[in-house]
Symmetry: C2
Subunit: 310 residues, 2 copies
Amino acid sequence: MSDPNDRLPPLNALRAFEAAARRLSFTQAADELNVTPGAISQQIRQLEDYAGTPLFKRTGRSVLLTDAAQASLPLVREAFERISEAGRIMQAPARKGRVMVSCAPSFAAKWLAPKLGEFHRTHDGVEAWISADMGLTDFTMADADFAIRYGRGVYEGLKSEKLLDETVLPVCSPALLEGPDAIKKPEDLRHHTLLHDESGENDPSCPDWASWLRARGVEGVDGNRGPRFNQAILVIESAAAGRGVALAKQAIAASDLASGRLVAPFADGSTLIDFGYWLVWPKGRHLSPDVRAFMKWVKTEATKGEIVGV
Amino acid sequence: MSDPNDRLPPLNALRAFEAAARRLSFTQAADELNVTPGAISQQIRQLEDYAGTPLFKRTGRSVLLTDAAQASLPLVREAFERISEAGRIMQAPARKGRVMVSCAPSFAAKWLAPKLGEFHRTHDGVEAWISADMGLTDFTMADADFAIRYGRGVYEGLKSEKLLDETVLPVCSPALLEGPDAIKKPEDLRHHTLLHDESGENDPSCPDWASWLRARGVEGVDGNRGPRFNQAILVIESAAAGRGVALAKQAIAASDLASGRLVAPFADGSTLIDFGYWLVWPKGRHLSPDVRAFMKWVKTEATKGEIVGV
DNA sequence: CACTCTTGTTTAGTATTGCTGATCGATCAG
DNA sequence: CTGATCGATCAGCAATACTAAACAAGAGTG
């Protein structure tokens, strides 16, 4: 009669519950789980049948958690964290020799990817995969081993370690240093297009052209004109193509500066900003030897860059 | 593309995995989950597809865990413990005012049940349910709020609190104290049937008739003859029916001794044994106010009994 | 106040998943 | 070798989960 298994809640319904409770929205939960809202609604109802009590207060507009849901949610969350981690561990043998790092597209393309060949040469048998994604989605469940994030280094539930500081400086194609409108001093910028990087928008310490010019007392240059890009790499590529002068992130521009594709027209142009690059991974995660090796290598590369650059 | 949800293992397959890993047998796992072995086999295979690596080493005869399974199993277990507990908490509002205690059939019938009326009278609005089951099944998942167990009080993963000591003493129907074969001293037992309780078999400190007689230097009585019962209550009822003299557990016999249905023929007959009755519940479990009240009441009843009895 | 937008619910139909029951192959004990 | 036991496999069936579409109920807007 009292079969112990009957006492376990329906597991798939718990997934819907967790997502809905986290978002406080069935629609968003449905979106997250790639199902229709109706499916979520049904799963929740099934769980409520099991519980014998409502889990959400439906207030027309949105939904609220009942006490029962409130009380059980932390345990459900912990359970899923463990399941997620268990899943990773199960997969570990199959992933052996592969390290997956998630990072922002620009950083991946301009900083990480060019150095990867070197890693592969020195670490035989370990291949690195880069997953370039934008959002800093809660990745306790993502399939990356760790991530490189651009920000202040404080992330809820995640451990982080500083990788690299970031500085911002004007860069342009070497072609712009010649000819009648050659850039010699900041005032010369009036003859050129200003390229705006809006990828670091939420960092108040990151200067835009307007504040950069103001800080240097440059007159007669409108710091607001010019095209805007939402990714650092786009600014860099535009600048390299000779379209204008970019206020660029040093880490992203470094390889092009080193190759001569870009030049820094002003000696004192660079500004250290608050945001930086961080190695980030979920708190309880087991890091395999391969992953550790890769992280260590990345950090070494970063210190190298600091010696050479800026 | 890399949908975070795809990274979670199939949840129902995990249940099969946990059971199979615990039992190291697909057949037994199937039995536990009330499905066929084929179903388990398929679920495990599905999980192995997910993991990309085998989880069991099939050695024809039985199965062994691979490293991947070994490593992930603890997390899976913890996850299910939390899910189980979350399930209970969800159901708490619906269970309000109900306390479910699991205990051995004899103790339930002869000790607990008779006192329940009193509890109900003093604790209005709380009803107590008794689930009398024999096995001390791992009940992290059972639906009882707590259990009363007979034993030494050490249970893996469970918390316990001493409820009652147990003593063993000869009892019989008052009818046997009269007539030509009236029982006055231990030697008189030769004229009567000895009733054997084998329910405490695994307690070496618990005397049987043979050791009881030997300890008192009684000669001429064969301590091995007579019917044997595997439950304490059966011995008691046989004795009460006048069939013979039982070496009975005090706690089980107490109510019949009090009512005069049974009597203790010898003044010095009782022996304190190692085993006793314990309140037992899973370590991380949240005990509701109702449950606490019931536990407290049970303990009070137990101390009352100690004052009156023995 | 009507209109519309958003959000959750419901229902019937469909797709997916999970299970059975029978059969097979392997292993081990006698 | 033979019988017994255990796991794997497969086709068919049952249960579960999902979709699509219509519906209902606030909340914001003009």
